[in-house]
Amino acid sequence: MTAYIIRRLLSVIPITLGVLLLVFLIYRVIGGDPAARLAGKNATPAKIEQIRKTFGYDKPKFFGFWVQKFFRAQPGAGLGVVPVSGQTVWEFCLNLCSFRLAVVSASGQTGWNFKPAQGATRLAVALPDFDARQRYRMEFRVEAPQGCSLRVLLAHPGAKPENQPIILEKSLSNNARTFVTADIAPTVDLDAADGGTAQVTVEITGGEATVSALQVWRAQSNPFDSQFWQIVSQFAQLNFGKSLQSNQRISRMMADGVVPSLCITTPIFVIEFVVAVALALLCAYYRNTWLDRTFVVISIVGMSVSGLVYIMLGQYFFSFELGWFPVWGFEGINYVLLPVVIGVVASIGGSLRFYRTIMLDEMYQDYVRTAFAKGASQRQVLFKHVLKNALIPILTNVVVAIPFLYTGSLMLESFFGIPGLGRMTVDAIYTGDEPVLFAMVFIGSVVFVIANLITDLCYTWADPRIRLQ
């Protein structure tokens, strides 16, 4: 028993990590990083790079020895610079599988395309804050006609101009796209102070060439120094970062939103539970009569209307037309009444049908038949046996609904102006506030996991029939 409980408690960890991984995959790996948005509209690439550094967006996604490095391309005369638009699925997969899981470069592009010029193609890439003690790696794609040769040169502020070490020299054999990787390892006279701007020059002679998807990386010593583990450690300390939209700390926004959300969801939860169980008992008592059937039909009818329609019509008729309730706001009890009523109406159909099924399942169990055979009255059986035994599936349903208390009702809150978590989430969806969504999804899931844990523990406590393997 104890072992089971401990094991169940421990199982929360992989699931939580899994949720974090899933959310991370959605928002970070596929969605890209929000540095450009943080930097705003007049952002220079340098500014974006700085933000990326501050927030750790330049690190590998999960694991890797290379950190993406910001660079400035300085094309030679007649050379146009075109940022690559987007990345292909293939490139994405490549980046996901390779060791260097940082995908998006300075301003969101995967690299730069350099259109060819007459004669030699010379492309200078400036690496700001060049640290001579670090290793760098440059990668690009070349399309060049046969017989071209390629040289990569490095000029460091500490080195004399005539002393440009050649990092790479090769001849390009065919017209196909060739991937070139140039390792920029520390060389002889690079003992100058760091922080200077180094310049790497790509020189292609012998024809018109296109250099594309250029990226620069810097070595990092700890491969686990990655975005994912950074998030794991941050979240473990309950630090969810800041909202992009309101600049507020997300933990604080959540703390602000919990109470209003609970003010709406708790009454809905309790009323719906009590009413649904009562009606379900009624249905079980009068099973297969017109009353039972009416309730079943009503509950299915209720389930078949969109929640949004309930809210819209409810708000329109009761608040606006009739003026029984305030239209919007969160000032007192009368502001909460209508949302609660609508919430109950919208969700009771499903619950009633579910509880009725459970009750009826119990009604046809052997022990109930035995009880009837022994001459127990309908009522006795219903309350003493059926309700007691049906409690376990009902309990499951109830506990599993607990996260709903937390996430609040998205629609209800945004229509009725309840400043709770649901509304916060809807706002975050509208404004694309990824950190808030990230945190909300994560916390919502953790609450669910904990609720599930509680259900399982309740099971062992409430139902001796359940064998603990």
């Binding site: 890209g32 929000p34 450009a36 948005r37 943080l38 930097a39 705003g40 509209k41 007049n42 952002a43 340098a46 500014k47 700085q50 933000i51 550094k53 501050t54 075109v82 940022p83 638009s85 987007g86 301003s107 969101g108 592009q109 939209q245 309101s246 600049n247 507020q248 700390r249 926004m253 602000d256 939103g257 209003p260 819209m312 708000q315 329109y316 608040s319 606006f320 003026g323 305030p326 239209v327 919007w328 706001g329 969160f330 945004s414 229509f415 009725f416 102006g417 400043p419 509304r423 916060m424 809807v426 706002d427 969806i429 509208y430 404004t431 694309g432």
Partner: protein
């Protein structure tokens, strides 16, 4: 119509939000007797940090608490600036490169625990310089650094120095262009003439800020505004309600006694010379649903509302006045042209509709753009959107010099011409002569989830289809829409620009070559001739010559057609009639202090 609107500040908002800007005060339910309370709609704000106040809602909140050297004259038209924390307008050197401000003495920041003894300190020139530096500090990633960058002596070097991630930014390092010879004198030295400087100094990025508050509150500064303005923040339930109250240590400002012609007749000068502000308390609700907002307005819980096109016929009679039903409810109609322009941009780098590489392509693509522009029926949009717009004839917005209300757009709706042009472009009836396939274009609308944006987009699709072109609409949330534009991924996109200051230069920069994406030139338009003219007007002071150049540039663009200009908005909004001293304004951020609420 919440399609993307760009602003120099880099912001987007819905048209409906704008019409709330600075409207509708009232004595209200819940106010104490004799107290004037203003209830209105306020959006999500980014906190009370002027350096980061890059959207309308945040700006509206920040202007209630903070102030700068100058502000727009409330009544006078055309717009002009008047001093507010400056004693007077600055002395400008003859070469236009040095501006010297005298700062008002005795102005105090509001009382706040960040000051010794909790008493607000007097404002000095250093508070401005500190604020300017904060805006220029990369570590603050303020969206307002454009106001000084490349204009003021030494600013760019300072910004560069702040980039070092290892060291905190050194605020003691001086910026040569910002000098404080004494406590009350501020001198700004420019690299080249900057005719827009005075406009820019009315913006929130340049507001005086106490260094004590920033250091005292640190990360939480955005929740603790400490300014000199007419109001101070009393209570703030984020995401729901904001409450401001009169600042007892406000330095005092008087209602203007001079206005535009006709203001006196409208009773706008009745309060001339009286101390501001009139309203004691301001309560802003953050209502998200327009539908809800409208219901609240009709029930008297909020005092101003924009009119959705769906409601237009019920609210506005055929003579474009208020219906009697509405008038009886004590509602007045506001109708104001906006200083903005909406257009459909064509990506100049697109292989189909862009600028083109060969001379033949240049001509054909231009004709194609012109044909598409010709197919858009502005009058139909105007009608569908219930006259809430003025068809646009070019980039120059109403209210700025160079705008000609009688000008007729060269590519005004003309199906015959459109068909002719598209045939000449190589797509007779929308079908490519080379492949026989129908021309398919994509139009990025932004504004996902907004019904009006979607409906407008569907209208565009219908128009283009009439000349045989298929348009696929893409809707995305604003951040995503931006990302697409910044990466030049759009083929066509719907966009709008709301002016930062009443000077056409502000909108013409959208087509200046070096501003190409990720800059504001999302069309990526490149025309060396245009660029040359733009560089010329940049340093020109307002003059008929400059106005002529503006018009020339506008014509050049209409001919080249990197964008199809659609309309300027005309706001129809409803207001409760107990609001007094209300005058529409294109830069309405600080205007609440001028409003008066009649008890009712």
């Amino acid at each position: 119509m919440a399609f993307s609107i760009q602003r120099g500040l880099g912001l987007l908002f819905s048209a409906l939000t704008i019409c709330a800007a600075g409207c509708g005060p009232s004595a209200a339910p819940g106010g104490k007797p004799g107290e004037m309370v203003y209830y209105s709609e306020g959006g999500d704000i980014k906190g009370f940090d002027p350096a980061k106040a890059s959207d309308v809602d945040t700006a509206l909140a920040v202007y209630k608490v903070y102030e700068g050297l100058l502000e727009y004259d409330y009544l006078y038209r055309p717009y002009r600036v008047v001093p507010i924390l400056a004693e007077s307008l600055p002395e400008i050197s003859n070469d236009g490169l040095t501006y010297t401000f005298r700062i008002k003495k005795g102005v105090r920041f509001q009382d706040d625990p960040c000051f010794p003894g909790g008493k607000g300190r007097e404002v000095t020139a250093d508070d401005f310089i500190y604020a300017f530096k904060r805006v220029m500090d990369t570590k603050n990633y303020s969206n307002g650094s454009w106001v000084f960058a490349e204009h003021v002596v030494g600013v760019d070097e300072w910004t560069k120095a702040s980039e070092d991630p290892k060291k905190p930014t050194d605020y003691s390092r001086p910026i040569p262009g910002f000098e404080a010879p004494d406590r009350y004198t501020l001198r700004i030295r420019l690299l080249r003439p900057y005719p827009q400087l005075l406009w820019v100094l009315t913006m929130q990025y340049t507001f005086a800020m106490p260094r004590e508050a920033v250091e005292f509150y640190g990360d939480d500064f955005l929740n603790h505004p400490v300014g000199t303005g007419p109001y101070r923040l009393k209570r703030w339930q984020r995401n729901y309600r904001m409450e401001f109250e009169r600042n007892p240590t406000f330095h005092g400002q008087l209602y203007p006694s001079e206005g535009a012609p006709g203001d006196r007749e409208k009773g706008l000068l009745a309060d001339a010379g009286k101390p501001l502000p009139f309203i004691d308390r301001i309560i802003l609700y953050n209502v998200r649903e327009y539908y809800t907002w409208w219901q609240m307005f009709l029930r008297g819980q909020i005092y101003s509302v924009g009119i959705s096109k769906d409601y237009f016929n019920k609210v506005i009679n055929p003579d474009l006045g208020l219906t009697s039903d509405m008038a009886k409810r004590g509602i007045v109609l506001r109708k104001e042209p906006q200083m903005d322009v909406y257009y459909i941009g064509f990506n100049w780098e697109d292989p189909v509709i862009g600028g083109g590489k060969t001379p033949d392509e240049v001509v054909r693509h231009r004709k194609l753009r012109q044909a598409i522009t010709c197919s858009f029926n502005q009058d139909q949009i105007k009608q569908t959107y219930a006259s809430r717009m003025i068809p646009s004839a070019g980039p120059i917005t109403p209210g700025t010099t160079g705008y000609d209300p009688n000008k007729i757009y060269r590519w005004r709706y003309n199906p015959e011409l459109a068909r002719k042009l598209i045939a000449e472009a190589g797509y007779p009836d929308g079908k490519d002569t080379r492949t026989g396939k129908r021309l398919h274009l994509t139009l990025d609308m932004g504004g996902a989830g907004d019904a009006e944006t979607r409906q407008l987009g569907e209208m565009y699709v219908g128009f283009a289809r009439a000349i045989g072109v298929d348009i696929t609409l893409n809707f995305s949330l604003q951040p995503e829409h931006w990302r697409k534009l910044e990466h030049k991924e759009s083929q066509m996109f719907s966009a709008g620009w709301v002016m930062d200051y009443p000077d056409a230069q502000n909108v013409l920069q959208l087509w200046y070559g070096p501003n190409e994406a990720p800059g504001v030139n999302h069309c990526n338009y490149k025309n060396p001739e245009f660029d040359k003219l733009y560089e010329r007007i940049l340093t020109m002071q307002d003059s008929p010559e400059r106005t002529a150049l503006y018009q020339k540039m506008a014509d050049m663009m209409v001919e080249d057609c990197p964008a199809a200009f659609m309309f300027h908005r005309l706001i129809y909004a409803l207001l409760r009639d107990w609001v007094e001293d209300f005058k529409p304004h294109d830069f309405p951020y600080p205007n609440v202090k001028f409003y008066r609420v009649r008890p009712h």
